[in-house]
Amino acid sequence: MNRLAIPRDLARSAGLVLLLLGAMAVFTALSPDFLTSSNLLNMARLDTENGIIALGMAIVIASGGIDLSVGAILGLSSVVLGYASLHGVPIGVAIGLALGIALLCGIANGAMVVLLRLHPLLVTLGTLALYRGLAQGILNGGAFSNFPTSFELPGQAYLGTVPGQTLIWALVILVVYVLTRMTASGRKLVAVGINELAARFSGVRIGAVRMAVYGASGLLAGIASVIYTSRVFSARGDAGGGLELLAIAAVVVGGATIRGGEISVIRTTLAVILIGVIPNGFVLAGIDTSWQFVAVGLVMVAAVAFNEVLFRPSLIRT
C-alpha cells in the first residue's frame, strides 16, 4: 500500500457514486415514477440476488481466481430446494439442504482448483455445465412451485415497506465487509491475490484460502438462490442463467482488477445498484429495453478503462 492508497480509493468510490447519481438524475428527469420510494425499494428487492452473488465473485476475483459456475449453482440449489419440498421435507430442512448443496458445489470447485491445480476459468466452465445439467435433469426440465406459504419469508416478506431480502443483503454486506477488512483472513485473501508465491513464503496456506474462497462463493450463491426461489415461488433448473457474467461485470465496474489482489465490498455493491438502475430507468422512461445492454457494456468498459488508465500508471505495458 502506498501513500496514495486512501485518496485513490476515495476517488474511485466518488467516481462511482457520481456515475450512479448522474444516471439517477437523468432517469428522474425522464420519468416521474423513477424517484419514488416504492420504485427504489423495488429495485433494492430485485438487486438483492445479484448483490449477494457479486460479493462472492468479488472474493473469488480478489484471490486471483474466477467463478463462472455461480449461476448454475443458483439453479441447482433452487432445484434441490424444490425437489426436497416435493418429497415432503420440511421447508426449513429443505433450505438447509439447498445451502449445503451450494456450499458443496463451491468446495468442489475449490478442490479441483487447489488439489488438481487446474485453471479456475476452465474448472468453473466445466462445473457450470455440470451443475446446470444436474439442475435441469433432477426436475426433468420442469418446474416445482407447490411450496408451503411459510416459504414466502425469505423472498416476499416486508418489514414495514422495506423488502425483507434487502435486510439479508445488508447483513451479508456487513459480514463480508468485516471478514475482508478487519480480519487476518481478509488480509490473507488479498495477499494470495497480489502474489501467491510471496504469500506462501509468508506462511499463508494458499490451498486453504482458495478452498474457502470458492466455498464462500458457492454458499453466497445458495443464499441468493433461496431468496430467488422464494421471490418467484418456483424452482426451475434454468434459473440464474447468465448471472455469472453480471456478477463479474459488477466486480470490475466496482473497480477491482480482474487480475486479483483487490476487493471493495462497498464499490461492488454500488456497481450492482448502478447495473440494476439502468434497465429500470430505461423501462420507466419508455426507451427500447435493448439499449440497456448497450448501456451496461459501455458503462463497464468505461469504468474499467477509467480505473486502469488513471489509477495504475505504474504497470509496465509491454
Binding site: A129, V252, V294, M300, T318
Partner: protein, 331 residues
C-alpha cells in the same frame, strides 16, 4: 564412472513414439475415438455415414467460432463476445439475404460486421489496459444490445434457398458449412505455421514480456487475433443463417461462447496462452458433437446433456494438466 545425463538434454531426444503419443492432437483425437467407440457399441444407429455427416454439420458453427477463439487464446487472451458478434452479424446480414436473395452480398455483410466488431475488441484490448475478459464482456453486452436494436426484437425467418449456399448446399457429398470451416482451418493453419505472424502469435501468448523485448509487435498481434475472431464469428453467422434458414432473438445468449471456449480447451489448447495446436478447436467441437449426438441416440433426455459436457470439459482439462509437462513441442 557413471555418466550423469543433464536433464536439459532430454529435449534433444529424437522424435519417437513417446513424443508422438504425448502430442496434444493425438491425445485429443484419442478422446474422440474413445467416445465414438463407446457410442458405437451402446447406441444403435450411431455408427453410420449419415449420422457422422449430421454430427459434423451440427457443430460447424461452433467449430467456426472456435477457430477464431483459438487464435485469441494462443495469444494469451480470451474473447467472450463471439456469441454476441454472431448474433449481431446474423441480424444485420439476415435482412440482406431476404432482400437480395443472393449469397455473396450476405456473406460480405456478415464478414464485414464480424470484422468490424472484432476490430473494436482488438483496439480495446491492444490500445487500453483493459484485460481482455473484461473488455469482451463489455462488448458482449454492447453487441447483444446492438443486435436486438437492429432486429427490433423480431426474428429473421425463411432465408431463401438462393442465399443459403453456405448453409444447405453440398459439394462432393460433404455439407458446405463443413467444407467452409475446413478451408478456413487450412488457411489459418498454414498461415500460423509458416509466417512470422504465426510465430509471433505464439510468442505473444507464451511470454509477452520476452516477446516484447525481442521486438514482436504485440499490439498488432492482439489486434489481428481479435479481428480474425470477429471475422470468423461473422462467417459463423452466415453459416448459421443458411443452415437454419434464419436467426432468432433467443440466440442472443451466452451458451454459445461457453461451448466455443470449451471446444478449444477440450481440443488441447492451454487457456494460459502460447501452447496449443491449430487442430484443437476442430477436435474439441467434434467431441462436443459426438457427445450430444450419442446421448440423444441413447435416448437420454436432452436436459442431461450439459452434465455430460461438464464432465467432459473437466476430464479434458484434468487430462491436459498431466500432459503439459511432457509435451514441449507445441511452443
Amino acid at each position: 564412472m557413471t555418466v550423469l545425463k543433464p536433464v536439459a538434454l532430454r529435449g534433444d531426444r529424437r522424435p519417437g513414439v513417446g513424443l508422438f503419443v504425448s502430442h496434444p492432437d493425438v491425445i485429443a483425437l484419442a478422446t474422440v475415438l474413445v467416445a465414438v467407440v463407446f457410442f458405437s457399441i451402446t447406441a444403435r444407429g450411431f455408427l453410420s455415414i449419415d449420422n457422422f455427416r449430421s454430427i459434423v454439420l451440427s457443430v460447424a458453427v461452433v467449430a467456426c467460432l472456435a477457430l477464431g477463439e483459438n487464435l485469441v487464446i494462443l495469444a494469451g487472451e480470451i474473447d467472450v463476445s463471439v456469441g454476441s458478434i454472431l448474433a449481431l452479424a446474423g441480424f444485420v446480414a439476415g435482412p440482406v439475404a431476404l432482400s437480395t436473395g443472393s449469397t455473396w452480398p450476405t456473406l460480405a455483410v456478415g464478414l464485414g460486421v464480424g470484422l468490424l466488431a472484432g476490430l473494436v475488441n482488438g483496439l480495446l484490448v491492444s490500445r487500453t489496459r483493459v484485460p481482455s475478459i473484461v473488455a469482451t464482456l463489455g462488448t458482449l453486452y454492447a453487441f447483444q444490445g446492438a443486435a436486438l436494436l437492429w432486429s427490433g426484437t423480431r426474428n429473421v425467418v425463411s432465408v431463401p434457398d438462393s442465399a443459403d449456399i453456405l448453409g444447405a448446399g453440398r459439394f462432393l457429398g460433404m455439407p458446405m458449412p463443413v467444407l467452409v470451416v475446413l478451408v478456413a482451418f487450412a488457411v489459418l493453419a498454414v498461415a500460423r505455421r509458416n509466417t512470422k505472424w504465426g510465430r509471433d502469435l505464439m510468442a505473444t501468448g507464451g511470454n509477452r514480456r520476452a516477446a516484447g523485448i525481442m521486438g514482436v509487435p504485440i499490439r498488432r498481434e492482439l489486434l489481428v487475433a481479435f479481428a480474425l475472431s470477429g471475422l470468423l464469428a461473422g462467417l459463423g453467422a452466415v453459416i448459421y443463417l443458411g443452415e437454419l434458414g434464419g436467426i432468432q432473438t433467443s440466440v442472443v445468449g451466452t451458451n454459445l461462447v461457453l461451448q466455443v471456449i470449451a471446444a478449444c480447451a477440450i481440443g488441447g489448447t492451454d487457456i494460459r496462452g502460447g501452447r496449443g495446436t491449430d487442430l484443437a478447436p476442430l477436435i474439441g467441437a467434434l467431441l462436443i458433437g459426438v457427445i450430444t449426438d450419442g446421448i440423444v441416440i441413447l435416448g437420454v433426455p436432452g436436459v442431461w446433456i450439459p452434465l455430460a459436457y461438464g464432465a467432459f470439459i473437466l476430464l479434458a482439462v484434468a487430462r491436459d494438466r498431466f500432459r503439459v509437462q511432457r509435451w514441449a513441442g507445441a511452443r
